[in-house]
Amino acid sequence: MNLAALDLASSRDLMIAFAPELVLTAWTIVVLLTVAWRHRTARDLRVAGWLTLAGLASAAGAAWFLWWQRAAAPGIPAMIAVDDFRFVADWLFLGTAAVTVLVSFDYLERENLLAPEYYALLLFGTLGMMVMAGGADLMMIFLGLEVMSVSVYVLAGVNRHSVASAEAALKYFLLGAFGSGFLVYGIALVYGATGTTNLPSIGSQIALASLQDSVLLLAGLALVLVGFGFKVAAVPFHMWAPDVYDGAPTPVTAYMATGVKAAAFVALFRVLAEGFGAVAAWPQIVWWLAVATMVVGNLAALAQRTVKRMLAYSSVAHAGYLLVAVTTGSAAGSAALLFYLVAYTLMTLAAFALLAAKGRNGERDVLIDDLAGLASSRPWLAFALAVCMLSLLGFPATAGFIGKWYILVAATAAGQTVLAAVLVLTSVVSAGYYLPVIMAMYMKPEPFEQAHAPMRLGLLGRTAVIASVVGLLYFGVLPNRLLDLARASGAAVRKAPAPAAMSPVPLAPRAPTSN
């Protein structure tokens, strides 16, 4: 069996190409059946959690196998892309989901959320993300996006005791559906202009029929961008983000801020690079989106008093930085995008996990000042949160810095100096809201004795936070491995439509150590 030359027209090869998604689907059904059968006690909830972790691990294993065998599907453009970009993105989503599960164990019990469907929804959401990242066809991407979105709409409202949670879910659903509407309409117009929804075919159609200036195509592209703009929470389509992030249960917020955003970015990059690489208009549109998102996100975050809302706006700001990487459209840009997504995911997940530990029945209201004196009573928690804040700020010796550096490298290499300057200047602004967290923890006294005593981070949550913080520091000093991976996978996104009769160069399987 030659995995390096999969023929996606044959159903057997298609199944192989889809292996990670299929494995995850099977596990999702297992989890669904289990929780339908046992859903009464906290113990059942834990069983479902462990099953979920097992499912995520096996899907990651399947993705790893394809990556290790250098699976590829040369030749005719197909529904699904088989490249490193997809596999690395899959690992990112699966890792995000795993950390979310680890944090959820304690959170669900503490908040009395005996909702076993939680884990099944999480798995469905992750499945949607993987389909999005793998989709080489606008229909596939839309399908994945909807599977993901619908799951996350429900997850946002999973806390039925909380009015805020319900509000968040409804708001997210309405605006998300609105955004999907734009996307679908955009896809329809693109189909009208090119006669296909397949990304490489769109690319070759544009090249063949010189459609760069076709009004139909540009209108479709603009609508597609609006749809993705909603999903990544880019300004001016970010209005929903703070309220939804604020109202949803904190682990779900973490999942939304990292996984959903990462999936939307990966898909957006693929759509723009593979499908619309020849259209000169989109870098300009994305340029403006990036500038607006960075400026508005950072300035709005300055005004926030509660930690969760601050992190919500900060995630808008980070969407702006990621859009800078998208704007370049280059191989360096896609590598920078992947690297930054990994760093961003680590730091955001850890920050939300720590916030979830601090919050207690309504963590919405944890003010930045409520963290005062954390360093003296809980030095390790404070240290972890401080590392996250510095990494979000892009401070050297953390992965956040290397990521930002990579985006800046890609931007300057693409001649986007002004964009790079805006990124740098808005990063200075971000010091104005990340530092107060550190300041509160280290430089202000504890408001009263034992103020932080109730703060609990379970064993599993602690494992997740430790892993994230160690990862942030490790990749901040020795980023080489991750960098090489991001470079190799970033280059895998095909830029031009591939010639139909390209003979594949067979490659030996990777040596087991060469990751």
Binding site: A421, V424, V428, A431
Partner: protein, 502 residues
């Protein structure tokens, strides 16, 4: 062996020691930190003898770090940075010893941060890779931010965040300039490298973009120096920081700005730096710094604030000396950098000791204490005189060289700057008089204790240096001369004949 590893050891050892301090028992923290910083000093002392003045860049170590981006770990020392490294290792043990009674809370954290700060400072002075330099430049920001913010005075939060944001703003623009610079050099040579020597060797003519790159570097370094009008973070940070923080801030951190000009900004963009308008602007700002710093110092009721503004004035001399580009002026600038570290460091120690005795930094809180604390008064007098620049102290050597050298290039500006020396006497002497002479009219001051042996151990090495450099500066000048000469020649040569003909 020593040649290759000493600089890396100087960077790594404090980090290891910081971990030890953090994990050890709290009551040992200060002793461990003192021992560690003395070891650091002992490690660095042989640099003084093994350094070959005419040897250019030495003690180099060069290993790949992030090969994908052409980033290497490259360190080395030449005559420009040698004394800054030694000054750092010399001041840190004294700062640790000087904090023994000042710091009473969270000692482990404080001393660990001091050691991390040491690593960062050494790293800035020895980095020969722009990525490494940038990382070090930023990394030392965090310990200082915490030192001001956690152990500082009443207004410490404001001072800490102001210090952080000013520096961060400048350095991020420098980061962008570094990236653009590396990209431009790659377009010419095809090599993507952050190596200092590679960049400086292949800079060539950059065209109009050079102005913007210089502006970004200028902003980062000028904030650190600090040059008027970017100096406003300095009085806050100096006043609020604990004694050791002020000493390190004034003694070492400000030198990073001027060092950055000597090492990066001027050699990278000589045509911009020697453009008549840029010259006029920078010399003008230096003069404003000298005169304005002195005049503002004159009216400060707070002793630490007075010293802080005097730093603005002293660093103005350094900038003037660098831009005058004569051998004497550049050597003088390097000497003023060292002298300012020693004298102002000593002044901040003394201010801290007075504060510990009276819990006041106001000059008016004292008066006539020469009779009560004769040793402290003697040392304060010597140090103040050296800061003014009295002959036979170190201050005289540096400022005289700067003025002599700069007179050849900027006669008018130098005449104004010479007036700044008089201003220095006008703010320090009256302050000295109000603190230690005048009638002893406050009962609180009658029972002050004189210097303890520990405090003497902090101050006497500094006094010894003041006199040594004041009386016999030749060993210092001899080691600086080739590097200063090389700096001038390379800048002149690449700036073209138009400016060199002056």
């Amino acid at each position: 062996m020593y040649q290759t590893w000493v600089l890396t050891a100087l960077i790594a050892w404090p980090l290891v020691a910081a971990l030890g301090v953090l994990l050890g028992p709290a009551r040992w923290a200060k002793h461990l930190a003192l021992a560690a910083s003395l070891v650091e000093f002992a490690l660095s002392v042989p640099l003084w003898w093994t350094f070959v003045p005419a040897g250019g860049m030495q003690f180099q170590l060069d290993v790949p770090w992030i090969p994908a981006w052409g980033i290497r770990y490259t360190v080395g020392v030449d005559g420009l940075s040698l004394f800054l490294v030694l000054l750092t290792t010399f001041l840190v043990p004294l700062s640790v010893l000087g904090s023994y009674t000042y710091i009473t809370t969270r000692e482990r954290g404080f001393y660990a941060l001091m050691l991390v700060l040491t690593s960062g400072m050494i790293g800035v002075f020895v980095s020969l890779d722009l990525f490494l330099f940038y990382v070090m430049w930023e990394v030392m920001l965090i310990p200082m931010y915490f030192i001001i913010g956690v152990w500082g005075g009443e207004n410490r939060l404001y001072a800490a965040i102001k210090f952080f944001i000013y520096t961060f703003f400048g350095s991020l623009l420098m980061l962008l300039a570094i990236l653009v610079l590396v990209y431009l050099v790659r377009q010419r040579t095809g090599v993507y490298s952050f190596s200092y020597l590679h960049l400086i060797g292949h800079m060539g003519a950059l065209g109009p973009v050079a102005f913007w790159l210089f502006a970004a570097f200028f902003l980062a370094f000028a904030i650190k120096v600090p040059m008027f009008p970017l100096h406003t973070w300095l009085p806050d940070a100096h006043v609020e920081a604990p004694t050791a923080g002020s000493v390190i801030l004034a003694g070492i951190l400000l030198k990073m700005g001027t060092y950055g000009f000597l090492r990066f900004a001027v050699p990278f963009f000589p045509t911009v730096a020697l453009h008549p308008w840029v010259q006029a602007g920078i010399v003008g700002l230096s003069l404003i710094g000298i005169v304005y710093g002195g005049l503002v110092a004159m009216v400060q009721p707070d002793f630490k604030k007075l010293i802080a503004y005097s730093s603005v004035a002293h660093l103005g001399f350094v900038m003037l000396g660098i831009w005058a580009l004569t051998l004497q002026s550049v050597q003088g600038a390097l000497m003023v950098m060292i002298n300012h570290g020693i004298s102002t460091g000593a002044l901040f120690f003394l201010a801290g000791m007075l504060y510990e005795r009276r819990h006041s930094r106001l000059i008016d809180a004292f008066g006539g204490i020469a009779r009560v604390v004769p040793m402290l008064a003697t040392i304060l007098t010597i140090v103040s005189l050296s800061s003014i620049g009295l002959p036979s102290t170190n201050g005289f050597v540096g400022e005289l060289l700067v003025l002599l050298g700069a007179f050849q290039t900027y006669p008018v500006a130098t005449t104004v700057a010479a007036g700044g020396v008089i201003v220095a006497a006008m703010y320090l002497l009256p302050a000295l008089q109000r603190v230690i002479f005048n009638p002893l009219d406050k009962p609180e001051n009658e029972k002050l204790l004189d210097l303890t042996p520990r405090e003497l151990a902090v101050l006497l090495p500094l006094v010894a240096c003041i006199l040594w450099i004041g009386l016999y500066p030749t060993p210092f000048l001899r080691r600086m001369e080739p590097a200063a000469q090389h700096f001038i020649e390379s800048v002149r040569a690449s700036a073209g004949t138009g400016t060199a003909a002056r």
